[in-house]
């Protein structure tokens, strides 16, 4: 059983604040896919566990539901793992605090994805002394 477990991957599906589907809807959509997955419903979305190819397919399909507002992230521990699950330990698991923090700007990330812009990554060059002098002289006039 353990050997089977080690070949599986877990992914978290997180709904952005402006997502046009709700968390129960997301879980229902995942169940309707009829893929061999373990689906755990969570407050931020869902956690899915299964073979890598199946999980990737599910993630791709789920993303298409609302491309800019559905985010996914890998998770090391399988869902409900007693080492991490709060039902056994009490209190939120460590990763949740981080998720909470990142969720604060997730709405802006969605907005940026909806309105993409090309930006320049090169640092602007320093103004030469002569140009600076010229500007200063012009300002003095």
């Amino acid at each position: 059983m353990l050997q089977e477990e080690s070949s599986k991957v877990t992914r978290m599906i997180i709904l952005g604040p402006a997502a046009n589907i709700s968390q129960p809807e997301l879980v229902r959509k995942l169940q309707m896919m009829e893929l061999p997955l373990t689906i755990k419903s969570t407050c931020y979305g869902a956690v899915i566990n299964g073979e890598e190819s199946v999980v990737n397919k599910a993630v791709e399909d789920v993303r298409n539901l609302d491309y800019c507002n559905i985010f996914t992230k890998d998770r090391g521990f399988p869902p409900g793992d007693p080492r991490r699950c709060r039902a056994k330990r009490g209190g939120a698991r460590e990763g949740f605090h981080q998720l909470e923090k990142e969720f604060e700007i997730l709405g802006f990330v969605s907005e940026a994805l909806e309105n993409p812009k090309k930006v320049n990554l090169k640092k602007p060059k320093k103004v030469s002394v002569d140009t600076f002098k010229q500007i200063a002289e012009e300002c003095e006039k």
């Binding site: 460590e94 981080q98 990330v109 994805l113």
Partner: protein
């Protein structure tokens, strides 16, 4: 292209990298190997005494074992990276990324690799977030062009 991200467990960075068709080298993949490994049968232990020894590749013996243990997990990700995105001043420091010295060492190792690198500051406002996302997307698109 394999992209290392820092913080290595960031949702935003990992998601943006994957959206552009690249592979995000995230911490969780390394953790998964350790926690679902058939050899480990005592549940709370996902770091064994082997890790600080493996960490010697990245940090000297005088460095605390906590840093070396963490570097044993971060190190293979840094080695495998073909490009990297570093987000400094991230407000979170929980779990594996809760060690400031390891974070400094990881960023140093990434900078030392000489791979295409994008350095950013963690955004806090709408404008900053928009700029950061656009910069990441432009950087990732640039990598595709370089690859071709």
């Amino acid at each position: 292209m394999k992209n290392a991200i820092f913080p290595p467990n960031s949702l935003i960075l990992a998601d943006l990298v994957e959206r552009r068709g690249h592979e995000a080298l995230v911490l969780q993949k390394e953790i998964r190997k350790r926690v679902t490994d058939v050899e480990i049968d005592s549940p709370p232990l996902n770091i064994t005494e082997e890790e600080p020894i493996k960490g010697l590749k990245y940090a000297a013996i005088e460095v605390p074992s906590g840093v070396r243990g963490r570097m044993a997990i971060f190190g293979p990700l840094i080695d495998a990276a073909e490009a990297a995105i570093i987000m400094e001043d991230a407000p979170f420091g929980f779990g594996c990324i809760g060690c400031a010295r390891t974070n400094e060492l990881s960023m140093f190792c990434l900078r030392k690799r000489g791979i295409p690198l994008l350095e950013l500051h963690y955004p806090t406002t709408r404008e900053e977030t928009m700029e950061v996302v656009n910069k990441i997307n432009t950087f990732l698109d640039g990598l595709e062009e370089e690859g071709e």
